[in-house]
Amino acid sequence: MSDNALKKIFLNVFHRVNGAKFVPFAGYEMPINYKKGIINEHLHVREKAGIFDVSHMGQILIPASDKNISSLETYTPLNLKKIPSNKCHYSFILNKKGGIVDDIMISKININDQENIYIVYNASRKKILNEIFNNIFENYSILNNRCLIAIQGPGSHSVLNSFLDLSKTKNFLDINIIQFDNSNIYISRSGYTGEDGFEISIPNENSENFINQILKNENTLLCGLGCRDSLRVEAGLSLYGNEINEDITPIQANLSWALDKNRLEDDNLNGSSILLNQLQETKKTRKIGITPVNKTMLRNNMTLYNKEQKEIGYITSGCFSPVLKRSIGIGYINNFTNKLDKLFVNVRGDFEEVIIDNIPFVKKNYKKGG
């Protein structure tokens, strides 16, 4: 079964030396946590700054030619000609039913006087997206020669500001190209933890030096995918394969804020008429936060029941919240359920009561208008 051998990210050995515990994730051997454990890493990000190597994610650079832009607009519900340069947008690759093939971060950046579209996409969706990209784009480059490093937490800016020029990434979702070790790095003020932070696309050969430079600051800590998941659940953010998949549209996933509504009138956009209808009709389900009444753990894929023990929804993400010190969950529920109705999950044969909660569970701390 050599096809199933786990791929290694460029800094695999570096992480091993630094005490990483590895798990298979989306075909990669990835650090789930380091010596201090998931809870300490999670709290460190909320209080100071954590470093994540997310180089398993896909990165692609596409020349912003008319043809490439028009092809991408078939899949992505944004007006790509009009979006400003140097700004990241959370968006999607959509199928013909308006379902989410992947959720992506997309931006326009200028490299060597040429406008490019830069997309970061999920590791678990690389195969299907690379096929789509190969079919629709000309002269694109998949950036396998680059790592993607995130630094997240309220201390991120001061950590990076000591050795990088952050004057063009002052606000949430700004993206720019700056120099590190005589190489171009793409730095964006973004992340997926609900905290202020940066994501940096950096040539493989500069990546270890870059992380070591960050680690010199005593407020930083290497963090694994374990706390990245609990951080994003606390922040109420969707994860591909949990909250979203090919059978769920951005509207059904409460992500219609990320759609350019004008594009829903455009036949060139996959699923545009379906999405337009969904936007106008009453939704059948809605996304909710879930909190257990007693001490119990909510887990992915648990069914939600009403007091008559009828199935009325399910949990898409359940975890322990290190900030709230209890379990939290995100899920979908029949939209006609009253916020005050009693809900239950079945935990090993016992019906445990849960209540509908607001998401995010922890207030987002993005840097805006600075």
């Binding site: 454990g37 998931i38 809870i39 609990s230 753990m297 379990s327 935990v347």
Partner: protein
């Protein structure tokens, strides 16, 4: 107190008279990661060895704890209700999970010695 013995499910067992104290090994707590909640067994519950008795929830996953021997649960470590991380901090002493009255103390003799348990981890 007797010499500690071990199960292949990574539990330790210590006996005094016909009472067995049961917890999980340091190796088990390390691989579970941060433990956040333990669904403790009910006092009075009668079980056969290898039956699922309670569940440890770590940040990563839920793991079953099995009865190492036949018998009846006579005491649970209520401190773990307030702070399950005691099992991470001190798995083989303060982090004990339950005590049981053994139906057949001979079963204890069939469990692994420390040496045998450590050897089993290497496989």
């Amino acid at each position: 107190m007797s010499e500690k013995k071990y199960t292949k499910e990574h539990e330790w067992v210590e006996i005094e008279g016909d009472t067995a104290t049961v917890g999980i090994t340091n190796h088990a707590q390390e691989s579970l990661g941060d433990i956040v909640f333990i669904d403790l067994p009910t006092v009075g519950k009668e079980v056969k060895s290898n039956e699922e008795l309670c569940v440890i929830e770590s940040v990563k996953a839920a793991s079953d704890i099995y009865a190492p021997i036949d018998g009846e649960v006579i005491e649970i470590n209520n401190n773990l209700n307030d702070d399950a991380s005691i099992v991470n901090q001190d798995p083989e002493k303060d982090g004990w999970i339950f005590k049981m009255k053994m139906a057949d103390p001979n079963q204890y003799n069939n469990l692994m010695t420390l040496e045998e348990y450590l050897a089993s981890l290497e496989n």
